[in-house]
């Protein structure tokens, strides 16, 4: 009995030490390789009879390793794809892309007239103020959950919503 008490006296501090070391290692590892972070994800409501939305956001890759987004899943849509809009001669063209490169220590902005995530067949009504979720899958297999806020459709120079009086102010798509 006495032996067991002695054992506990040594084992408990050892456990605490191990746990503290483990946590310190974890935090150290995190500090060395910070993960991909998504900020300011937003979209506009679909424009009936269309049932598609373009989703915009800023994706930060603060780590020293180049990453890329390889796929997107959106439970509230039939299908989600990475897209880009680019000029082709005098024309603006939207095309699907297989991956979205995230340079090391860098940031990629998905914005109107550029990269965006296209969601086809949105399954639930979306109005300004609502949220919808999606998950980005990176090339290292890591998954990044994203909460997307629905903003009122609005012009790029900051005018009122064209959708009537139900919108909320939106600033994310200003040039």
């Amino acid at each position: 009995m006495r032996t067991r008490k002695l054992e506990l006296r040594f084992v408990r501090p050892l456990c605490k030490l191990s746990l503290a070391t483990f946590l310190a290692c974890l935090s150290g590892a995190y500090a060395q390789a910070p993960g991909v972070v998504v900020k300011n994800a937003w979209t506009r409501p679909p424009l009936p009879p269309q049932n598609n939305i373009a989703v915009f956001m800023t994706i930060d890759n603060p780590g020293p390793t180049a990453r890329s987004v390889v796929s997107v899943s959106a439970p509230d849509a039939d299908k989600a794809e990475l897209h880009k809009v680019e000029m082709e001669g005098n024309m603006m063209k939207m095309t699907p892309i297989k991956t979205l490169p995230l340079p090391p220590n860098g940031s990629v902005e998905l914005k109107p007239g550029s990269f965006h995530i296209m969601c086809f067949g949105v399954k639930k009504p979306l109005k300004p103020g609502d949220t919808t979720s999606m998950v980005l899958t990176l090339d290292d297999g890591k998954k990044v959950p994203v909460e997307v806020t629905v903003r009122a459709a609005q012009d790029r120079s900051g005018g009122d919503s064209f959708m009537g009086s139900h919108g909320s102010p939106m600033s994310g798509d200003r040039p």
Binding site: R44, L47, P48, P49, Q50, N51, N52, I53, A54, D78, K79, E81, V85, E88, G89, N90, M91, M92, K93, M94, T95, P96, P112, G113, H116, M118, F120, G121, A153, Q154, D155, R156, S157, G159, D160, F162, M163, G164, D173, P175
Partner: protein
């Protein structure tokens, strides 16, 4: 004495020149060498002729309703132009000409344009030949390209199109072409000049 007379003459000439420049700057923008009458089908399925809009300033934009980005942005800018014009907006008509003849039927165009409150818009469609004629008249371009392996609800073809907005005076002559980066203020100012 002679010098004074010349000075007066010079001042008079200068004043005339200044007034001339001032009056020129208030003139309408010059007539561009693009445009002309055309026939399409409107959002109610009825024949439409551009000449029916004489007396109104007209904005023409080529797009398609599945466009997630450029077209809603441009249409929302046009909506802001209408608000900025106030009562004068009653003299402005917008023609949204779809280059996606396969999907954008008259009812689709009608429902889509109803999203843009305050815009007095007519959705127009037609055969590929008719659309090609109108784009050629105005110098616009578009391109439909199949996307290999794509299945609905994905887009099975991509649509590329010019993003300019053409502004026609009440006589149907093209006066201004706004590019994609034109601001609401630019567009409002231009439209006011040709109302």
């Amino acid at each position: 004495m002679k010098l004074e007379r010349y000075r007066s003459l010079l001042i008079c000439m200068l004043l005339v020149a200044i007034l001339g420049i001032a009056s020129c700057s208030s003139d309408k923008p010059g007539v561009l060498n693009v445009g002309g009458n055309f026939t399409l089908t409107d959002q109610d399925g009825m024949p439409f002729q551009l000449s029916s809009q004489r007396g109104k300033t007209v904005l023409i934009f080529f797009g398609y309703t599945s466009c997630p980005d450029v077209c809603p942005t441009t249409m929302s800018k046009i909506a802001s132009v209408y608000r900025a014009l106030g009562p004068d907006a009653s003299r402005l008509k917008t023609l949204f000409i779809s280059v996606d003849t396969q999907r954008d039927t008259p009812p689709v165009l009608k429902e889509y344009l109803a999203n843009f409150k305050g815009v007095d818009a007519i959705g127009l469609t037609g055969s590929v030949a008719q659309i090609n004629k109108v784009t050629a008249l105005l110098g616009a371009e578009y391109q439909i390209t199949p996307i290999s392996g794509a299945k609905p609800p994905e887009e099975t073809y991509s649509v590329a199109h010019t993003t300019e907005v053409y502004a026609l005076d009440p006589e149907g002559r093209t006066r201004l072409i706004f590019d994609y980066d034109a601001t609401v203020a630019d567009m409002t100012k231009g439209v006011r000049e040709i109302l």
